[in-house]
């Protein structure tokens, strides 16, 4: 396969996200008038470095997946920019966007739903080649077999249909499709959430192997904090559509700055009974507010154990805290 990048690739930001916002309109009534918005993603700003894995964590419904899809422009962003290798992909349209597509791919959460049940595995993996590459039929077949081998599947499986495979194998098929065009960047949208625990490790190891071989950059969306700790270089934490904290993995897990991150991390069980017994959990009260009507000021203030009056009045700024750490909290630091 082409481009053994990683080592030679220049360090720096591959992707730069500035104020990315995605609002879904809420329509009602006979005339389908817009009566409100769901602010699924609100003012997301961060960079993803070449060759790194950025973990994006948060509870379900916080906008992680929407963020991932908006970054790839599978959803039209409401505001903000996404600079991929310096090109603003939110400004591209039609053919120009289509030409950028091979550089950034996606791995989906549900390995069942992301494969067309009426296509053979071979034609599923060959679809990106059909669309984006000029190859003869024989070249395509050879490439499909190469890709199947790369993700640890028997190349003879190309003639079978997705329903004949297990969940882990289907996820591998999805991964083979994602890497078919030698992308630089892959959004992994909870790629292991639907899998058996014993299969999760295999798939994560495969993702790490592929990252090393092809110099891939990942945005790894997950709610599994221990898996993110294992795979990510840096971690971003989201709450109700906003990023609350971003930093190097070890720093975040050792000393979280934002009260939400602290609560989240305190919920991770520790695989050592002695330590586990002494683990103190921060239990958050109440439910996540509706993204259709988020709280004023800091969105976390309704559940924050240390909230002050200021938190209800002022939206906390996304501030750099040194050491590559960012946080959106008035009281941090």
């Amino acid at each position: 396969m082409a481009e053994p990048a990683a080592a030679t690739a220049p360090a720096g930001a591959l992707l730069r996200i500035e104020g990315l916002t995605k609002h879904f309109p809420v329509v009602a009534g006979l005339l389908r008038r817009q009566v409100g918005v769901i602010s699924a993603v609100d003012g997301l700003s961060f960079e993803i470095m070449r060759g790194e894995t950025l973990g994006l964590v948060g509870e379900s419904g916080c906008g992680k997946s929407t963020a991932g899809r908006t970054i790839l422009r599978l959803y039209e962003p409401t505001a903000g920019r996404v600079l991929f290798e310096g090109t603003d992909i939110t400004a591209l349209s039609g053919e120009a966007l289509r030409r950028m597509r091979p550089r950034m791919q996606m791995i989906f959460q549900d390995p069942q739903a992301c494969l067309n049940p009426r296509m053979t595995v071979g034609s599923i993996i060959a679809e990106p080649l059909d669309e984006q590459a000029r190859m003869s039929a024989a070249e395509k077949r050879a490439r499909v077999q190469e890709l199947l081998e790369a993700v640890g599947l028997n190349p003879a499986f190309a003639n079978r249909y997705p329903h004949e495979f297990s969940g882990g194998q289907r996820q591998r098929i999805g991964i083979a499709r994602a890497i078919a065009l030698n992308p630089a960047f892959i959004v992994c949208d909870e790629p292991i959430a639907a899998l058996d625990v014993s299969i999760q490790a295999q798939v994560v190891n495969l993702l790490e192997d592929l990252q090393e071989r092809f110099g891939l950059t990942y945005l790894f969306i997950s709610h599994d904090l221990s898996m993110v700790r294992h795979i990510a270089d840096r971690v971003a934490v989201m709450y109700l559509g906003k990023a609350v904290e971003l930093g190097p993995r070890e720093a975040i897990y050792r000393a979280p700055l934002h009260p939400y991150t602290r609560a989240l991390l305190s919920a991770v069980p520790i695989p050592d009974p002695k330590v586990e017994r002494t683990r103190s959990r921060i239990i958050l009260k109440g439910d996540v507010p509706s993204p259709a009507n988020p709280p004023t000021g800091c969105r976390f203030r309704t559940r924050c154990p240390i909230a002050e009056r200021r938190c209800a009045e002022e939206v906390p700024a996304w501030r750099a805290m040194g050491g590559g750490r960012w946080v959106a909290c008035h009281l941090a630091g």
């Binding site: 899809r69 989906f108 739903a113 067309n116 049940p117 009426r118």
Partner: protein
């Protein structure tokens, strides 16, 4: 790996990719009902296309010396009240009924699928196209048919000749008034499919819209289309009969299955077989088509395909 296993693996690798239609055919042949349906349908088809060559009595010629006959060697199904040969009428009528059924169904399925897919996939077209569908559903069909046929019968007759003209008109009229159910069903399916992740995956690859429609959406709505198509043939044949009965369809001396049933219904007490035979032919055709559609639908779904 042993040598034998390796050779086998090589063979598998170099084998051409499975083609959809060969798989479908293999599965179709396993479906007993579908095969029986296909055999009956082909038999009926051959009978009505080649039959009139063998049994070459003019179905429209009256013979007053041979009225109301029972089955004889010359007239296997007897004759009617003005001495026309019932078997010849059945064969000729089948030609027209089958042709009308198949072509009207094709037209209505094409229209319904096209409108359903466009409405389901493109949000902006959804409103207008579905209101159009509602409009057609709300139209009082019979008065509409009356007007259409009154207006266009004579121009079409002069343009294409009396039989072809009326055939085109009837196919068009039935097709244009029976696509709505298909469109609604297809739209519903497409709405659900559009949000599936494999469509999103195709978009992230940069697949063009029309290719997404053809490659991902259309194959996954085949099942409801198949069902609508098989039912459509039956209802098209029946609608044609109703039109002929009202004097709006083919001319009175031109046999179709529906026409035969209506013409002979007055003699149902004295000679029930004159209604029975065309009725049986109609029922067999509809049934065989339904079985074929059932088998085809199963064969097109890879999940049902045994290995």
């Amino acid at each position: 790996m042993t040598d034998a296993a390796r050779a086998e693996a090589e063979a598998v690798l170099s084998a051409p990719p499975r083609t959809l239609w060969r798989d479908v055919w293999r599965q179709f042949r396993r479906h007993r009902g579908a095969m029986a349906g296909a055999v009956i349908f082909i038999a009926i088809g051959l009978l009505v296309t080649l039959g009139p060559q063998l049994h070459d009595i003019d179905p429209t010629a009256p013979n007053f010396r041979a009225r109301n006959l029972g089955p004889t060697w010359a007239h296997p199904l007897g004759t009617d009240n003005i001495g026309r040969d019932s078997f010849a009428q059945l064969l000729h009528g089948g030609r027209v009924s089958l042709a009308v059924g198949l072509s009207a169904m094709t037209l209505s399925i094409l229209l319904g699928t096209l409108i359903g897919i466009l409405a389901g996939y493109f949000r902006r077209l959804d409103g207008p196209l579905m209101r159009l569908t509602d409009l057609f559903l709300a139209l009082p069909l019979l008065p509409l048919l009356l007007v259409v046929i009154m207006l266009f019968r004579d121009p079409l007759r002069t343009a294409f000749g009396p039989e072809t003209g009326i055939f085109l008109l009837i196919v068009f009229v039935i097709g244009i008034t029976s696509w709505m159910q298909t469109a609604r069903i297809v739209r519903g399916e497409v709405l659900a499919l559009r949000e599936r992740e494999f469509v999103l995956a195709a978009r992230s690859i940069g697949t063009r819209q029309h290719r997404i429609l053809i490659r991902h959406i259309l194959p996954n709505v085949v099942s409801p289309i198949m069902v609508a198509a098989t039912l459509g043939i039956a209802s098209a044949i029946i609608t044609e009969s109703a039109l002929s009965f009202l004097g709006l369809g083919f001319p009175p001396d031109f046999p179709t299955w529906g026409r035969l049933i209506y013409d002979n219904k007055d003699f149902i007490q004295s000679a029930p077989e004159r209604v029975l035979w065309p009725g049986l032919a109609l029922a067999l055709t509809v049934l065989s088509v339904n079985f074929m559609g059932d088998g085809l639908r199963d064969a097109l779904d890879p999940r049902g395909r045994g290995r």
